[in-house]
C-alpha cells in the first residue's frame, strides 16, 4: 500500500501527481471465498478490514451492487457519539468510538474524525430527568458525559437561542465532549483501501440476486455475474435488508424508511459542535467545508426511493430556525434522503440467521454511521468465529421472540 503523508504529497507534486496508485483493485471474483460480505458500505468494508487484520482471514470478497460507500455511508450527517442510555448499546457504541479515535492512523487515511462535542438539549423537566439518567448511566460505564445548565449552554453555543422567550426554552444540555463528526466518504474509502491492501477483493457493480443453500446451509451467493462460493456469508445491506432477507427465505423485525437530511450553502464557521434537540426536533453541525449539516426526521412509511416527504424538511427547518434564529437568512442548498432499516427497539440486529452460515448485521436505523468501526469489528469476530461477539450477543434476532429488547427507543420517555 502506497503510504500517505504530507511528505508524500510534497514529493508527488514534482511529478504532477501522475504517480498516485489506485486506492483499490478491480479484481475478478474467485470461485470461492472463506467469507463473502454482501454490501460494500462502511459497515461491510470495515467488517472485511477487521476480518483480514484482526482474524487473519484474507480470502474475503465484498460484493456491492453499486459503488462502494454508496448507500447510507454517503448520505448521513456524519455524527459520531457513544452516549447511549442502555449498557448493551453504550458498550457497543463506545467500542466504536474508541476505534474512531485511532482510525485515521490505523487506516493511514484521514477520516477527519474531530471530537468537537455533541450536545443534547433539554427543553422540559422530563428532558432533564432523562439527561440525568443518561449522564449518570454513561459515567457508571466509564463514558464521560456532562450535564450543563442554561447559562453554560449559552456560553458554549454562541448563537443558540437560550432566552426564556422561546416556545420551549433551553433548560440545560448533556454534552459528550468526545463525540463529534467524521468525513463519511473517507471512512468507506479508507477501509476499502486498507482492506484491499490486505488482500480483500472488492467487487463493485455486482448484484447479489440470491443465496445458494445446501441442506439449509448457505454455500455461496448468486449474482448477476454468476455464482460466487462462500464458506460463510455476511449480509450488511442497510436499506436493502428486507428484500435480501426475503431472498434468503426469512423475515425480520425491520422496516426500511426514508430518512432525510439537508445542507445549507457553505458559510464561515458559526457552529462548532453537534447540537441535537429531541423536543424541538432538529439537529445540526457544520462541516469543514462550511455547510450546515442538518438531520431531518424519519418518514413514517416504508420507502426505498431515497427521498421522503417535504413536510419533514419543513418541520426540521422550522426547528433549526427556532434554535438558531440568526440562520433564517442563510439558505438551504440541498436535501436528500437515505433508506434506514428501523427495528422496534431502535437497536441493530447482529448475529446468526435462520440460515446456517449466513450472518446478518442490520437494523442500525438512524444511527449506523457512528457505529461503523465497532459494527465492523464485532461482525468480523462473529463471522470469524461463527458465533456472536460478546458485545453483539444482546442484539440477536431472538430478542424479538423472548422480549429481551434493548429498548433505546422507549427509554426516550414519552410526555406525561
Amino acid at each position: 500500500m502506497q503510504r500517505y503523508s504530507g511528505f508524500g504529497l510534497f514529493k508527488h507534486s514534482f511529478s504532477h501527481h501522475e504517480n498516485w496508485q489506485r486506492m483499490w483493485r478491480n479484481p475478478t471474483p474467485k470461485a470461492v471465498y472463506d467469507v463473502v460480505i454482501v454490501g460494500a458500505g462502511g459497515h461491510g468494508l470495515a467488517t472485511a478490514y477487521y476480518l483480514a487484520k484482526v482474524h487473519g482471514i484474507t480470502n474475503v470478497a465484498v460484493i456491492e451492487k453499486g459503488w462502494l460507500g454508496g448507500g447510507n455511508t454517503a448520505r448521513n450527517t456524519t455524527i459520531v457519539r457513544s452516549n447511549y442510555l442502555l449498557d448493551e448499546s453504550s458498550a457497543l457504541y463506545e467500542h466504536a468510538l474508541k476505534l474512531w479515535e485511532d482510525l485515521s492512523q490505523d487506516l493511514n487515511y484521514n477520516v477527519m474524525f474531530s471530537q468537537r462535542g455533541c450536545y443534547h438539549l433539554c427543553h422540559n423537566l422530563q428532558d432533564l430527568r432523562d439527561a440525568e439518567r443518561l449522564v449518570t448511566a454513561n459515567i457508571l460505564n466509564g463514558i464521560p458525559n456532562e450535564l450543563l445548565d442554561t447559562r453554560q449552554v449559552a456560553e458554549e453555543i454562541p448563537y443558540l437561542d437560550c432566552s426564556p422567550n422561546t416556545r420551549y426554552p433551553v433548560l440545560g444540555a448533556s454534552v459528550q465532549r468526545r463525540a463529534g463528526n467524521a468525513r463519511h466518504d473517507a471512512v468507506a474509502w479508507g477501509y476499502a483501501r486498507a482492506a484491499d491492501a490486505l488482500g480483500v477483493d472488492l467487487i463493485q457493480q455486482t448484484e447479489v440476486t440470491g443465496f445458494r443453500k445446501q441442506d439449509g446451509v448457505v454455500i455461496g451467493v448468486e449474482t448477476n455475474k454468476g455464482f460466487i462460493g462462500a464458506k460463510r456469508v455476511g449480509m450488511v445491506v442497510a436499506g436493502n435488508t428486507g428484500p435480501l432477507a426475503a431472498k434468503a427465505g426469512f423475515r425480520l423485525p425491520v422496516e426500511s424508511h426514508p430518512l432525510q437530511a439537508l445542507v445549507s450553502e457553505p458559510i464561515k464557521p458559526i457552529i462548532d459542535s453537534v447540537i441535537m434537540s429531541n423536543a424541538v426536533h432538529g439537529y445540526i453541525s457544520q462541516s469543514d467545508k462550511g455547510d450546515l449539516v442538518i438531520g431531518a426526521g424519519i418518514d413514517g412509511w416504508v420507502g426505498y426511493g431515497q427521498r421522503g416527504s417535504y413536510p419533514i424538511i419543513e418541520h426540521t427547518v422550522e426547528a433549526i430556525a427556532e434554535m438558531f434564529p440568526v440562520l433564517s437568512r442563510v439558505r438551504m442548498n440541498r436535501q436528500w434522503g437515505g433508506i434506514v432499516d428501523t427495528t422496534p427497539d431502535a437497536c441493530p440486529i447482529i448475529g446468526t440467521t435462520p440460515v446456517k452460515n449466513l450472518f446478518i448485521n442490520c437494523g442500525w436505523g438512524t444511527g449506523g454511521f457512528k457505529a461503523t468501526p465497532g459494527s465492523g469489528h464485532v461482525f468480523a469476530a462473529t463471522l470469524a468465529k461463527g458465533e456472536p461477539h460478546p458485545l453483539a450477543k444482546p442484539f440477536s434476532i431472538e430478542r424479538f421472540h423472548t422480549g429481551a429488547l434493548v429498548d433505546e427507543h422507549g427509554a426516550a420517555a414519552v410526555a406525561h
Binding site: 428486507g242 426475503a246 423475515r251 425480520l252 422496516e255 426500511s256 426511493g305
Partner: protein, 107 residues
C-alpha cells in the same frame, strides 16, 4: 408529499392530514394464549418490507379520523388504490424493481 385519496371522505388530500400506521392486514391472533412467545413476537414486530407494492394502514388523522388501507409502491411511492378496512385489495403482486413511468404519465 403524497396525495392520498381517503375512501371515507371521497377526496384526495395531502399527506399532512394523514398518519401512516404500518403494514395492513396484520390480524391480532384470536387466541393469544395459544401463541408461543416467538409467534407473539412475530405478530408484534415482524413485517413484510418489500421493494414494490405494499398494503399499508393509514389514519386520516386530521380529517375523518378513520383508518383505511392503501396499496402503495415503496420505490415509486405511487398509491395504486385505497380501500376501507375489511375490503380486499385489487392489487397485490409485488415486483422487485420499480416500473419507471413514462414521461407524462398520470398520477
Amino acid at each position: 408529499m403524497l396525495y392520498i385519496f381517503c375512501p371515507h371522505c371521497g377526496e384526495s388530500r395531502s399527506e399532512e392530514e394523514f398518519a401512516p400506521a404500518g403494514q395492513a392486514h396484520i390480524a391480532r391472533p384470536l387466541d393469544p394464549a395459544a401463541c408461543s412467545d416467538a409467534e407473539w413476537g412475530e405478530y408484534m414486530w415482524f413485517r413484510d418490507n418489500p421493494r414494490g407494492l405494499r398494503h399499508e394502514l393509514w389514519l386520516h388523522a386530521a380529517g375523518c379520523r378513520k383508518y383505511f388501507n392503501a396499496t402503495r409502491h415503496t420505490v415509486s411511492y405511487e398509491i395504486v388504490e385505497t380501500y376501507k378496512i375489511g375490503e380486499k385489495p385489487s392489487f397485490s403482486e409485488t415486483v422487485d424493481e420499480p416500473q419507471p413511468q413514462a414521461q407524462g404519465a398520470t398520477a
